[in-house]
């Protein structure tokens, strides 16, 4: 298991209902460096949040959205996907690996699926090295 102290921020749509009472804290404690940020809809995500999160010290950012048809606000999930693409395009322009920002539609929507995704993401970030050191892309 790869749970090293990698600063990762996960923005997740509240409507995914990933965590019941108290579970969020428990989940975070098992992942040192992880910040879980619940947002009213993934469509609230904008490119500047994502770049700002990396510029503030995070090594990677995940945006967890609902399936496009399941979005309570109809267009939110589609918008967040486009915004993540835009932020990734910015990273490319800056010569930084775009994979530091990922758009994720979990299936099934469960903590186990998130854990599995985080495992992969941490491996990827480790292979890239810390932001601010030459990236081993």
């Amino acid at each position: 298991m790869h749970r090293q102290n990698n600063k990762i921020v996960v923005f997740h749509c509240r409507n995914l209902r990933l965590f019941q009472d108290g579970e969020r804290k428990e989940f975070s404690m098992a992942w040192p460096g992880l910040s879980l940020v619940s947002i009213p809809c993934s469509g609230k995500i904008e490119a500047h949040f994502l770049l700002k999160t990396l510029a503030s010290g995070a090594q990677g950012v995940l945006v967890l959205a609902c399936a496009e048809q399941a979005c309570q606000y109809l267009e939110g999930s589609m918008r967040s996907r486009k915004r993540v693409e835009y932020a990734r395009h910015w990273l490319e322009k800056l010569g930084i690996a775009p994979d530091r920002i990922e758009f994720v539609r979990l299936w099934p929507v469960s903590q186990q699926a998130l854990e599995a995704h985080l495992e992969e993401f941490v491996l990827k970030l480790e292979s890239l090295g810390a932001l601010g050191t030459p990236e081993k892309v």
């Binding site: 500047h48 990396l54 322009k93 800056l94 010569g95 930084i96 932001l131």
Partner: protein
């Protein structure tokens, strides 16, 4: 409103690399509406620069601020305390905003982050089009509120050229023919007769061709 676009990051960096502290200043008016220089985009550019310098291990102080209008002194004062702490201001205002900052902060270099493009409108989210050239003698009343100066590629004032095809301009098929729009619009409002009046050639001396322009209103002065 004024429509602009962000310069390439390489060009911006070339201009600001020499400074060690940068104040990135947005403008929350026109350039916010065209999603290029408002509060969001200011945060985006400041963060992008931080990442870019982090990658190069170049430690710089990068601060962000956003003014409601960058071309009015009362608002420009809003960054007065931050300006002395920085070597340079990187402005996300239009050309007028950049120059207003330079007039107020006389000892500070001001670098534009945008290319200012035109006076235009938001046609839909993500699409802005030019529709006024600021010619100084608005004749929209003759043309059903569709401007032949800005929207006809040849700036024709008395009817279309012979190249208009299917409502498209012969210069660029992506562009609607300005005269097609004028005629359809006058037809729709029942004022095609407006076109029987001869419109003299544009007097460019009232446009920017006549040199720098200004408006003075004694009633508005302090």
């Amino acid at each position: 409103m004024i429509v602009a676009e962000l310069k390439e990051i390489d060009e911006i960096r070339k201009m600001v690399d020499r400074y060690s502290s940068i104040l990135v200043v947005g403008c929350d008016s026109c350039v916010a509406e065209c999603a290029v220089g408002g509060a969001r985009e200011t945060q985006l550019l400041a963060s992008a620069l931080k990442l870019s310098y982090l990658k190069d291990r170049d430690e710089k102080v990068i601060t962000e601020a956003c003014l409601d209008r960058q071309c009015v002194d009362d608002f420009i004062d809003g960054i007065a305390e931050q300006v002395p702490e920085h070597d340079v201001i990187l402005s996300l205002g239009c050309g007028a905003g950049v120059q207003a900052l330079a007039r107020v902060y006389t000892d500070k270099p001001i670098i534009p982050a945008l290319n200012t493009l035109f006076i235009g409108e938001t046609v839909m989210r993500g699409v802005w089009t030019e529709n006024c050239l600021g010619c100084g003698q608005c004749k929209l009343g003759y043309f059903g509120a569709v401007c032949p100066v800005a929207r006809c590629s040849k700036k024709l004032m008395n009817g279309p050229c012979g190249g208009s095809r299917g409502g498209r301009c012969e210069i660029d098929p992506e562009t609607p023919c300005g005269w097609d729009l004028i005629i359809k619009r006058l037809e729709a409002i029942g004022e095609l007769d407006r076109l029987s009046e001869y419109v003299p050639p544009v007097n460019w001396s009232t446009s920017h061709s006549g040199g720098p322009r200004r408006v003075i209103r004694e009633d508005q002065k302090p």
